[in-house]
Each structure stands twice: as C-alpha cells, then as structure tokens.
Amino acid sequence: MRTLAMIRRVFREMLRDKRTLALMFIAPLFILSLVYFLFQGNTTTTASLATRNVDSSMVTAIKNKHIKIHDVNSDKSVKTIIREHDYAGMLSQNGDKLTLTLANTDQSKSAVIKQSLQAAQAKLKGQAAATTIKTQAQALQKMQAALGAATHTPVNATTNVGNLKAKLGSTSYTTKTHYLYGSKDSTFFNTLLPIMMGFVVFFFVFLISGIALLRERTTGTLYRLLATPVKRGEIISGYLCGYGTFAFIQTLLIVLFTMYVFKIQILGSIWLVLLINVLLAMVALTLGLLISTFASSEFQMIQFIPIVAIPQIFFAGIIPISSLPGWLQPVSYIMPLYYGASSMSAVVQKGVGFMDVLPNLSILLLFAAVFLVLNLLTMRKYRQV
C-alpha cells in the first residue's frame, strides 16, 4: 500500500520533469548513435602512399581502393616529401630492395599500407610462380609433342598434358572467409555495442536515482517521510519499483533502437538481454541511492561520477581484461559493469543461453542485495527504528 503510494509519487515526479525524462530516454540513444557513427568510420580509411622508382608491376599490385598512389620524382629526402605533402607513407626502390617509410601519425593508415604491401608482394610472387609453371608446361608440351611424333602414341600423352595444364591453371586460390560471430560488415561497433548498452543504462539510472534521493534528503522530505509509520524497506522498494520501471523502459528503448535502427543482430535471446540490463539497472539504482548518502549536494553527487561510474567502463571489456596489467585485472571483479557487460557481449555476439550467464547474473544480484542492505542501514541515521 505505502510502496504503491511511493511508486505513484515517483511516476508523477518523473513524468512532470520533462528534462529528466529526456535525459533518461533520448540521451542514451544520442550517445549510442554517436558511437555508431564514430566506429563506422574505419572502413573508409584511404591512405596516400608516395612511390619513387618502384617497378610499375609492383605499383599496380599495391593499388586498391584504400590506397592512393602518388608517383614522386624529386630527390628530396623521404622525410621532407612526407612532410610536405602529408603522405601516410612512402615506398622507394633501390635495385631489388624496397624501403617503406610510414608517417605513422594515424596507425590505421599505417596498417592499411602495410597490409596492401604484403598483399602486393604475395600477388607478385604468385604471378611469378604461375609464369614459371606456365613456361615449364610449355616446355613439357613441346617435349611431349616431340615424343609423340617419335613414338606415334599421341592420344594418351596429350590427355595427360591436358590434365597437367588444368592443374597448373588453378594456382590462383580463391579464399572464402567464414566468420564465427558477426559478418564481414562487423565493425568495432559490434563489439562496443553490448558494453555501451550496459554502461549507458548503468550511468543514467545511477545518476537519476542518486540525485532523486539526494533531493529528498536535502529538502527534508525524507525525514518527513520517516516521521510516518512507513518502513524503511517500503521507501527503498518504492524507489526500486518506481525508478526500476523507467530503467526498464529505457532498456527496452535502447535494445529496440539498436535492433531496428543500427540493424544489429542479437544472436541470443532478447529477453536475456533485457534481464541483464534490468539487473544492471537494479545495481545502479541501489548504488546511486547509497552513494547519495555521502553527497550533501547535487554538485557533490556529480563528483562521484569520475570515481564510481567512469572507471567501470574501462573494466567492462572494451579493452580485453586479459590484456590489462596483471595487478589490475582483479579490479574488474569488483566492477558490477564487468559482469553485466561481459554477459551482454556473450548474449548479443555469441548467442549464449541463460545457464551460461547465470553465474554473472547471480553476482549482479548479490551486488544489488549488498547495496540494498547498506541503504537500509544508512537510513537509520534519520530514524533509529
């Protein structure tokens, strides 16, 4: 009954505060769209490469849509040429020695050039091999013809040569790539999305619930509330259900947005994605309420963001945990977002089932439970029964 009244009040307050509503529902979509466009960019990278005295066959082999070739004749130093024209790299040939100098101001461009050069070298080697085989085959054919003329048994021999030729002709391999997860259109965004989704939910719920309870403390309404026979648990559960509903709608909106606007395929169950997000929101909510105890103004609440919210994202899997320094790795185990984001990644990208993420979900639940109990204890400060 009292919990219901609390929920009704939270709803009314939220629905009348249009700015906060917008922050909760539109800001996450805005951030995700921004991330989407930022990380789509790398497929269209083109690097400009200067070439000097390079064999034309090599140059044609290097050419592809990500490389722009500039033939250079000047005998200025490599450094000067790159600097003057802002090239990403320069390739020069001296006899059969190739020298590649990379500006390396943009690592992705350096990578494009290195890849293209490797590909070109492989291509040229392949061509060379093919020509040798061809000439050998021709020689063989001639010998066969001579032999045939000599022995008068040409039928068998020519078929043999035909077979040989057919075999030799197929030296240019076609490669077909299979992707275990995702497709050739997968970009870093696909990896980033489940993590960002979790973080966005965590961040906004943390902020809004924390500030809501803080406002209740500073205006004295929390004290006034506790001067009624309401149980502390009823206040907290009212907050959980009230703001939890908004967190759920937010999650739903984000998931639908990524599915229909970004056309991201969610391999696992969408219900599991929602469940993980709701649990993450619960942790954020209880943590936000708890942290607001230690803030005496909205400004102080904001000060907790770099301490509590931002570090979470570093340990959420954007940088693989295994690549972190050894001593830093255990830190991720105290980060709620680590459990949420890694479960999300597993469900969205690998399509794992409920049982596989159950351990992570239990840990999230444990986090929420611990924060909940701490909340009940800190409210004792206001009313000792």
Binding site: R2, R9, E13, G220, L226, A227, R383
Partner: protein
Amino acid sequence: MTEVIKVTNLQQGYGKRIILNDINLNINSGDILGLIGPSGAGKTTLVSTIMGMLKPKQGTVTVLGTPMPNRKLLGKIGYMAQTDALYSVLTARENLTFFGEMQGMSKAELQKQIPYATGIVNLNDDLDKYVKDYSGGMKRRLSLAIALLADPELLILDEPTVGIDPELRQQIWKELHRLADEGKTILLTTHVMEDAEQSSYLMMIRGGRAIAQGTPDDLISQYHVNSVEEVFLQAGRDQDAHTSND
C-alpha cells in the same frame, strides 16, 4: 486526563556531544506545550526524541503509554517539520494524499479529511496548484494541513507560525485550542512570545537544559514579573549566574 508525553531524566546527544541534559516532562491530554528557547538550544532534538526518531541516550520517553522509539506509534502523531518538506512538482492535493497514505489513511478518510485540514489553513482554493508556485506562507500552511490531516492524538509542530500573517495565526490558534478542548495534545516549538502565551504549559530550554517550566501564570508569579518574555529573560540570567558561580 491521561498522560500523553512522559520524559524522565533524558540525556540526548550525537556521538560524544551532549545536547540535552536532565529533561523531565509530563504532559496530559488537552495540554498545549510550548517549547521555547533560542535557536540551537536543543528544541528540535527534544522533539525528535519524543517522536522516536532518535533513541534516548539515557532516560526514558513514553508517548501515549508506549516507550519510544516506536515506529507504529508515529501513525498517531501529526508532525510539521521546521523546514517545509514538500514535493514541489506535485500539487497541494497530491502532497496531502501522499503523506496521508504514508500515515496509513484510507481513500475514504482522505476524501473527508483533506477539505477539513485545508479549510483550517485557508488553502481550499489553491489545492490543485503546484507547490512550486506557492508562496513561503502558503507552504507553511500546507505543512500544517499535512500535520492535521490524520486527526492525530498528538500534534508536534516545529515552529508552526513562522511566515504566517497575524490574522491567519489567530485562526490557527483558535483551531489549536478547539483541538485541545477535544482532548488532543499539542507540542509546539517557537521563539515567538505571543505563541508562548497561548500555551497551557511552557518549557524553556537554553543550552540543553530546561531552565524553567510550568503554566504561564505560575511562571509569571514565581519570577515576580509581568510577562512570559520577562520570565524567559530572568530565567536566562539566573542560569548564567548559576554557571558562573560553578
């Protein structure tokens, strides 16, 4: 006449800091207790202890026969805080409904009590306005209406008359006296002497100690002065003289 508030040898404080010392108080139903004293004297701490928000450090507090603190008993106490604890994005009616529900009132009771409580404080015409559009005085009156809403046996009002114009104050006092005549008990804190004079029992607190207590008439004759204000001043001087002798 039943005993509503009984405080015995109360010592109260936060951590090691002692705020109240040696407080003894007996209030019967129908009494209006005025708690007067300068700010920082410990009035609000005493009120919080009587309501059971704080556990007594030493001594006992009993309200309506129940030892405090007791959560359920808060349903029988109407409380008006010193700061207007209101939800500004809600209307006055929504605030009243919400706090009424928290107090444990049913829908039917609320329907009956909201017009009554707001009638006392002249807010009937502004019930559906948002609290953020209220003036300071209107907020104060709404806080009082919330305290009166559940028709509680004990009313605890922390500085109820601040920001309320004289005409309305008279009206509110008339209502408080009527409630007292019905057998309700009222405890209010104030530093306005006119409010003190309206009380049936006074307790003067200064520096955490009760420096004088009794009915206004008794106090005036006891100190051989002409007004409650002079009693307060005299009692203060006596306390200072006493402490400087120590």
